[in-house]
């Protein structure tokens, strides 16, 4: 066994040095906490790595609050469902932070079937001076104990420990795609392909099903749920997106089962763009409420759309992420890229939206100025303090210098997961097994 683990270590370091990623290291989710002090990443190997922002110090102003590893723990392990003869992947699909209420930090992490609540706490003192055992833990010889002493807390090296406080399991027949904490900080929803379940954070043996779109006859299945999120302020409202490109807003006060939506957002399909792959590219991969709760953003394969909650028949704004791929859908279908699920994110003030693309490109759209930029997350372009240069994809025949042609794009390098600091212009971008953190330039 030891030999095996040695071989694994050797292989891993060899692969890392030569820039190959082991599949377990591929980052599958990134999330800032509500203060932006912490950044969590989940990977395919079921691990969670939490980064903490350094305190800004006057003595070192150039180290403007960098993020360093704070805690690493194994959140989920691979499991086997014996009844269905299915392996349950340990890949972390989503992480959501709970608001901080005391010195400890809490987050929810989920794989395909099980949600777990983790408590991350610091220990920087330990009691010393016990009567019955010495500081190394060895039992003291009773004959040597002549006086009574009171243990005192002494400082020690900071230790960050993560403990699983709750495990919410056995509630999903299908694969969990999202979790969302309610603004009441007492409940949360977990969503799979056909159902949305409501949980109380304290209760693990019971959950309430609030949306169920499973048809009586599975042959009649035409759409699945792709993502769901609670409204940021209204604790009774949540939205869920579907594989057909529609979003439903539901009010939990209306009925226990929220199968009937109160708002239905869908844009009629443009018949001129119809193709074999229209259904696939219209499937929504991510839905996010704006921080102010007035808008919804959705991501499908080629576009990002911003919807006004008051207007259901069409989006307020549509942004083309990589329209040059429209003519390549057949190849993207064959190499499976057409099934990639990109996420999208708002900045703190809801004025800019960001999403990923291929070739390690990610795009930002300023909603006010209508300007957009394409940036690249790569080692060569990301030396510390370097300024990111805008990139451009050449769509017509004549390629300018510094432009990249569509055929040269590397489709194995995709940015699916990104997150934006809640208050500042700091973004975290996951590019396969690498995490890039970019900040506004210092004046």
């Amino acid at each position: 066994m030891e030999e095996e683990s040695d071989t694994r270590k050797i292989n891993n370091s060899f692969l890392r040095e030569h820039n190959y990623a082991t599949e377990a290291d591929i980052i599958s989710t990134v999330e800032f906490n509500s203060s932006g002090e912490l950044l969590a990443t989940g990977d395919k190997g079921g691990r969670v790595v939490v980064f903490q922002r350094e305190q800004e110090s006057k003595s070192q102003p150039q180290r403007r609050g960098e993020y360093n590893v704070y805690s690493t723990f194994q959140s989920h392990e691979p499991e086997f469902d014996y009844l269905k003869s299915l392996e349950i992947e340990e890949k972390i699909n989503k992480i959501k932070w709970l608001p901080q209420q005391n010195a400890a930090y809490f987050l929810l992490s989920t794989n395909d079937k099980t949600v777990k609540l983790w408590k991350i706490s610091e220990r920087d003192k330990r009691p010393e001076g016990y009567n019955l055992k010495d500081d190394d833990g060895r039992i003291r010889d009773p004959s040597t104990i002549t006086s009574l002493r009171v243990p005192v807390l002494q400082p020690m090296d900071l230790m960050v420990e993560a403990t699983a406080r709750r495990v919410f399991s056995n509630a999903h027949m299908y694969h969990i795609n999202s979790i969302s904490v309610n603004s009441d900080y007492q409940t949360y929803i977990s969503t799979d392909d056909l159902r949305v379940n409501l949980w109380n954070l304290e209760i693990t043996d019971r959950s309430f099903n609030i949306v169920d779109i499973k048809p009586a006859n599975m042959e009649e299945l035409t759409e699945v749920i792709t993502s769901a999120e609670f409204h940021p302020q209204q604790c009774h409202t949540f939205a869920y997106s579907s594989s057909k490109g529609s979003i439903r807003l539901c009010d939990m006060r209306e009925a226990a089962l929220c199968d009937k939506h109160c708002k239905y957002f869908e844009e009629p399909e443009d018949p001129s763009t119809r193709s074999f792959f229209s259904e696939i590219i219209s499937s929504i991969s991510d839905v996010k409420f704006s921080h102010n709760g007035r808008y919804l953003m959705t991501r499908d394969y080629l576009t990002v759309k911003v919807w006004d909650l008051q207007m259901e028949n069409k989006p307020l704004e549509t942004y083309q992420v990589h329209d040059y791929l429209r003519g390549k859908l057949c190849s993207l279908y064959e190499n499976d890229c057409i099934f990639d699920k990109f996420e999208c994110v708002w900045n703190g003030s809801d004025s800019v939206i960001m999403t990923g693309s291929y070739n390690n490109f990610f795009r930002m759209f300023d909603r006010n100025t209508k300007r957009d930029v394409t940036l690249e997350a790569s080692r060569e372009n990301s030396k510390p303090r370097a300024i990111l240069k805008p990139r451009k994809v050449c769509v017509s025949g004549k390629r300018r210098k510094d432009e990249i042609s569509v055929d040269s794009l590397d489709f194995s390098k995709k940015i699916l997961h990104t997150t934006w600091h809640p208050h500042e212009n700091i973004i975290a971008v996951a590019a396969t097994n690498n995490l890039y953190i970019f900040q506004d330039k210092v004046n």
């Binding site: 392996e87 299908y174 042959e219 009649e220 759409e223 074999f276 229209s278 499976d336």
Partner: protein
């Protein structure tokens, strides 16, 4: 014809992906399987729409029983590219003989209704392969009277319902296993 070749390729790729997803870690992904099924369905519908156009043209030209469905089936089976022209006009006995040949050689036997084996999404045989069992459609259409009544598989039936909404696809039965 470009559309039919592309449609066929898309269907074949979709099938391959559905079959290989059975061995993927984490089990069958419902969303992905549904999208693949929809792609197959649109490709199939477009393929048949293109085929029907060809058939009508042939029928109008020749005004005799057309052989396209069996031609199409045979060519699908054998993987030959489809030709838009070249419909054969055969006499009845020859046609029956040919159909009998087709019957023997075309599709593997349909799995028993009450098979003990649990059927995954992709475990049901692909629906664009013709089946042995002949099924007559209740709704009549001029096409149907002309086309062979011996070998009409469910796949062909769906396309023959001109103007009717598409019936739930047989391949969706595979989803029921999830």
């Amino acid at each position: 014809m470009e559309v039919t070749t592309e449609a066929k390729r898309i269907m074949v790729v979709a099938l391959g992906k559905l079959y290989s997803s059975r061995t993927q870690r984490g089990g069958l992904r419902l969303h992905r399987s549904l999208l693949l099924t929809m792609v197959m369905k649109s490709a199939r519908d477009m393929y048949h729409a293109a085929q029907e156009t060809v058939e009508w043209e042939a029928v109008e030209q020749q005004q005799s029983p057309a052989e396209e469905p069996t031609d199409a089936q045979m060519e699908l089976q054998e993987g030959k590219p489809l030709t838009s022209t070249g419909e054969e006009v055969e006499s009845s006995p020859a046609k029956l003989r040919r159909d009998a040949y087709n019957k023997e050689n075309m599709s593997p036997p349909r799995p028993a209704q009450h098979s003990r084996k649990r059927r995954g999404k992709a475990a049901v045989e692909p629906d664009f392969l013709p089946c042995k069992k002949a099924k007559l459609e209740q709704k009549s259409s001029p096409h149907q009277l002309i086309l062979s009544t011996v070998l009409l598989c469910e796949y062909m039936n769906c396309s023959s319902q001109v103007g009717a909404p598409p019936a739930p696809m047989p391949v969706q039965r595979a989803i029921a296993a999830c």
